[in-house]
Assembly symmetry: C2
Homo-oligomer: 109 residues x 2
Amino acid sequence: MQTSELQWTAQEQSIAKAAFGKAYKREIEALVQVVRDQASSLSSTDDIWRLHDFLSARRHELDGKYDERESALIFVFADLVKEGWLSLDDLQGLDASKLSKISALTRMM
Amino acid sequence: MQTSELQWTAQEQSIAKAAFGKAYKREIEALVQVVRDQASSLSSTDDIWRLHDFLSARRHELDGKYDERESALIFVFADLVKEGWLSLDDLQGLDASKLSKISALTRMM
């Protein structure tokens, strides 16, 4: 799959950017909720460092995940769809071959 | 100040250990409260990573701070008294020269 050679029109770039923002917002909102829940039941040192470890892991994951390079977009979107942060509907407007690749990847990952 | 050459009797070691535990418990309880407060007002990505940075810094600080080596105890206790996690009363039973060194250091730090 020569995804790195796919061309993204200005309109597609705009759709991709909006979808990124939407997914990130959803993922952060869910993270905020998890952190609040964990924090409300904190009581020991272990609990605190467990929260710290959790945040370290999530930060590392999120830093690497939202890769906006065009060569990565198909894979990033497949990942986000697979994890439930985006639906294929959020990506409508991309050309059919991209949507089809994203959809295929979500079933392979 | 030849603190590294101070001898600690078994009874003093026991007092030191209890004081360490007391200070650590107090400090962690305060930290739990701060983390809960911060977590309850989390809303953005920045808030989450600010909490993460805060926990990273506190963990690093706490890991280094509670140094139980006898050569470090006088300084550690002075630090804990200075910060309010211990009072000199919590250290009663240590010999007078140690208490006096701790007390002097809290005024110098």
